[in-house]
Amino acid sequence: MRLRSFGVTFEIVAARDVAGALAPAFPPHATRTACEGRALRFSVGLAHPDRGRLMTIHRGRRTICRDAPLVVARDILEHALRRAIAVSSPHHLFLHAGVVGWKGRAILIPGHSFSGKSTLVQALVAAGATYYSDELAPVGDDGLVHAYRRPIALRTHGGAFASPSLPAPRAQSVKPLPVGLIVCTRYRENAAWAPQELTSAEAAMELLANTIPIRARPRRALRLLKRLALGAPAHRSERGEARDAAREILRMI
């Protein structure tokens, strides 16, 4: 099976029933493609069929996991595909960021794992913003932010599970948006919301620190980051409860 997502072609080699079970791991917005040509190859096999459905996943010739039950194999495959897209996408620059749409603009929340992005995105969506992503922000060469919509995954200490309170977004498309606000924040218990405006260069640095292919394509990345940073105000603040911060953030646009 060949899939294409954000300009990256994958070939998933697996038995039909295995491929079906792994489908939730495929990138959001991926489409089947029949085009020949270079593709990133992932093969999934049952490690010990007599021991139940334990899976082994290879990327090319490299093993990326063995003896994984289905739920884990899906997670691992999803992570590997997501990473491959973020690194290899030819026409999009992937930032590690949450994104919501509000009043025709994108609110970009750059940040690494465990900074509270997903919780804040969920709160913004609950307050009326449109969900675009809780993890990755694909930015086109035109500076517009695209959606990367998958079920919001809220972390507990040491792991992740899908949020039970928000259903997985339906597959309808949302249009790419210009960035209207950049919010650099992380959770701290009882923190007060006290945004300080960043200079454009400070904002660009925050974005650079969360730009996945920065090392592979620094020139292109810098130009796009400059465009984003000059095009929208940026603020930094710690935050307490996500619901309160979400209200404040939506008032800023």
Binding site: R66, A68, V72, G159, A160, K226
Partner: protein
């Protein structure tokens, strides 16, 4: 003495009146505020700090203390953005701040902020800190035996996130291949966790509980020894 700004292998973007400089040699990114950017731009090998201060003072519309220029040159050299380091003892930042306050000058103290650009493996891990030591597994094939569910950061770094957590799903053992470019910070907790998980994987390989060739077993032993060597003395 005159000073040259380095130009090779650098990407420079001006953003407002600041500069973003990306060093392709070591993947460090630097933000130069207005004053530091002006100092750097004036390092063409023609002027000493006093002359740079005089010229910049005219540009900034205030008096710029040459010691502030020397401090900027120190910072720029420390960031690897100069062809050579300034001569003489390093001027302390505190000293320069006091001097500038005493002179009541309007120019901002020069500032150079540096981060290490994240590697792709850091797609899901908290990094981009000032340069930190990591456990180097390049060129080694290594496996760990972990407890799930734990994905994402556990695969590429933040190894403590890989040890599992209590939840509704019973924990399950899974073997995961560590990517050679995994970014695992070199600290005591990571060393302990990583070695345990690698040793558990080796034990399973040796007892036949995990299918592995002799070459993979030897590779796992080599990787464990490498991690032990790197973790020696880490507290």
């Amino acid at each position: 003495m005159t000073y040259h700004a380095r130009t090779n292998h650098l990407l420079v973007e001006s953003i407002g009146d600041e500069l973003l400089v990306y060093d392709r040699l070591n993947h460090h990114a630097h933000r130069l505020n207005r004053t530091a950017a002006l100092v750097w731009r004036h390092c063409e090998g023609k002027r000493d700090p006093r002359e740079i201060a005089a010229e910049l003072g005219a540009t900034l519309g205030c008096t710029l203390d040459p010691r502030a220029v020397t401090a900027a040159l120190d910072d720029l050299a420390g960031a690897g953005l100069m062809e050579q380091a300034p001569a003489g003892p390093r001027v302390s930042r505190a000293h320069v701040v006091r001097a500038l306050k005493a002179a009541a000058v309007g120019a901002a103290l020069p500032a150079v902020v540096t981060i290490v650009a994240p590697a792709p493996a850091e797609a899901d891990s908290p990094t981009a800190q000032p340069a930190k030591k990591t456990i180097d597994l390049r060129g080694k094939e290594a496996f760990v035996l972990g407890v799930t569910p734990a994905t994402g950061p556990g695969l590429v770094g933040g190894i403590t996130a890989f040890t599992g957590f209590p939840g509704s799903t019973p924990p399950v053992l899974v073997t995961v291949h560590i990517p050679p470019d995994a970014d695992i910070e070199l600290n005591a907790e990571n060393c302990q966790n990583l070695l345990k998980m690698m040793q558990d994987a080796l034990d399973r390989m040796m007892t036949g509980g995990l299918a592995a060739s002799q070459m993979q077993i030897q590779s796992q032993r080599d990787a464990i020894q490498s991690v032990k060597d790197q973790c020696k003395g880490v507290h």
